[in-house]
Symmetry: C2
Subunit: 359 residues, 2 copies
């Protein structure tokens, strides 16, 4: 099982690090550098055709290095593209993908679940099967439906700790990943790789997720503090400053309302750092006033983030474990080596040293 | 680190299983059988002096077997007692403990945090230091404060997946356990054992928590489906029936309001299965009517639990992983052996077989 991912993506030297696609944050340099470090980098699909094709071309250039080319299928760009299905046309993806095929299309948040089938089929057709389909789910029921509708190559199982958008009601990966795996087993699909997402921020949580049974892990928030991340310095400062992520962040639809983003299916909200907007809402401020204050502060530069700021600061509960900004490759390497240490420590302690006594 | 618990509690053959104290559910037989299986069983303190002393005496009898006596300190009962501090007098505990000292007092939910200091001191004094102090926390800030105030022997770190009462806002153990451990390290207290609680239901999640760095794990919901659990059959049926725990359960204060329990500090709520009471509240039913319906159904027997029932059905997100009722000892053994398998599998895959290639 754990070997499946390296079979699918031969350049992977790490099962541990896949980068979640986040609009804006996921620059071509970030995606390319995660892949070049032995992970799998992503860009976000966005809604504009030109932007997607141009971005794919950039990533293609950045990953055109001999070490990768030796391990990748000809004509497949060794990165993935994430799509929030409710907000983007399939034709945007297929037109770009027909010219430049990425290794993976990551499908998330369809307006209705049947759209998953149409997307999976459309993308596979556009690239002659070169692009794999990953589907992100947050419940066992969603996972079952996704397997049926999209026949995914990989399931991304997102738990409640995740930053940014996700289901407003869900479990963390701690119980969700094992329960999804049992469901897959009951369908005779225990071969399907499951990646864990949500709250995984360092090598310890990566080791935890692998011990749970995941075939790999997805990190989003950690890469917001990558040097290559395309986010404002004010947001990035918050990522390294915040502690106690379970209480310094919260799940809410406020960020969408402030940004006047309309169209997220009703089951989604987003986890972000609690700031002045949240506090004002809690004491009864109407959205109209909160939105006006948000817009007013959008010109304040980096000081518009922070506990008294109003800019949206998506972050997962693992934010308290992030203390520095570093190159993406260094993050990949650090998570990988720390995860390895953790797994060695627990196996030596509980399995190999004195098996009978220890566990 | 991982050896610390066996040093503290020499009868432990398992770091993996500690049983969360749940009022009612935690019968003397359940507590004793968890301990006899190599775990650490708990009873709930409750509020009545006679009940506590009598229960301690029962557990003392049940654990008086040569195999345990050889490994326990004279005059210490090898089980623990849990207290929800806001609802019970310290004198209830100390009067009973002065006669019968349990190995552990587990302190949770003080009305004000300073009460932790008073309790820790009072209990240590009552048993001449024979009873260890465990403190349950749900945030990094709580953990820091607890270390300062109670000088605990063990920290129980409860994440958002847990069934029953806990903080209404928190992270899952996935990010919370590592962040608490970093905080302890910064205090020079990396020697302090941390147990993970919340969402841990089988050997996979137990392995995950150990890989995260926890010294042991706490399970509550799993033991609701122990043969020895003192809960109604209707509740137990739900524990084995429910699936998809992230959406079939929810955090809310409704259960306290239905039971007319007053006094929980404002930061707590409880995770329970969603039933008719939750549905009625969602469509606007006033508490007074919901309480009346709840009381009316309390005489309906086991059919009062279930999706259309109204009885309180505390359960964690891991409930979907529980499919059968079995003796507590079998649960301990199953979790232990599955956890060991998981740790062996990941270490062999990612560390030992082909270390460089795999992680």
């Amino acid at each position: 099982m754990a070997h499946t991912l390296t079979k699918l993506y031969p350049w992977l030297t790490s099962h541990v690090v896949v980068y979640a696609p986040m609009l804006g944050a996921a620059t071509p340099a970030l995606a390319a550098n995660v892949t070049k470090a032995g992970g799998l980098g992503f860009i976000a699909g966005g809604t504009k055709l030109d932007a997607l094709e141009a971005t794919l071309r950039q990533v293609s250039e950045l990953t055109r290095i001999p070490a990768l080319q030796a391990k990748t299928t000809k004509d497949v760009i060794p990165i993935g593209v994430g799509f929030q299905l409710w907000g983007v046309q399939l034709s945007v993806a297929t037109l770009a993908f027909a010219k430049l095929a990425p290794a993976v299309a990551w499908l998330f948040a369809p307006a209705k679940s049947a759209d998953l089938a149409e997307w999976a089929q459309g993308i596979r057709h556009a690239t002659g099967g070169k692009t794999h389909i990953w589907v992100q789910v947050g419940t066992v029921a969603e996972a079952r439906s996704a397997v049926h509708l999209a026949k995914p190559d990989v399931l991304v199982v997102q738990g409640s700790d995740a930053g940014g958008h996700g289901l407003s009601q869900s479990a963390s990966v701690m119980s969700l990943v094992p329960e999804v795996m049992d469901m897959l087993d009951s369908l005779g699909r225990s071969d399907l790789p499951v990646l864990a997402a949500g709250g995984i921020t360092d090598g310890r949580s990566a080791a935890g997720a692998l011990a749970l049974g995941a075939s790999g892990i997805v990190m989003g928030t950690r890469f917001l503090a990558a040097q290559e991340a395309g986010i404002a310095r004010g947001w990035q400062n918050e990522i390294t400053r915040l502690t106690d992520g379970g209480v310094s962040t919260t799940r809410s639809t406020l960020c969408d309302r402030l940004k006047e983003t309309k169209g997220w299916p009703a089951c989604y909200d987003g986890r972000a750092a609690i700031n002045q907007g949240h506090k004002d809402e809690k004491v009864g401020m109407a959205d109209s006033e909160n939105v006006a204050l948000y817009k007013g502060e959008a010109t304040s530069g980096d000081s518009a983030w922070g506990p008294h700021g109003r800019m949206v600061t998506y972050a997962g509960t693992g934010v308290g474990l992030i203390r520095d900004v570093k190159p993406a490759a260094a993050i990949v390497e650090e998570v990988r080596s720390q995860a390895r240490e953790c797994l060695k420590r627990v196996a030596d302690t509980y399995v190999y040293d004195k098996p009978a006594a220890r566990l």
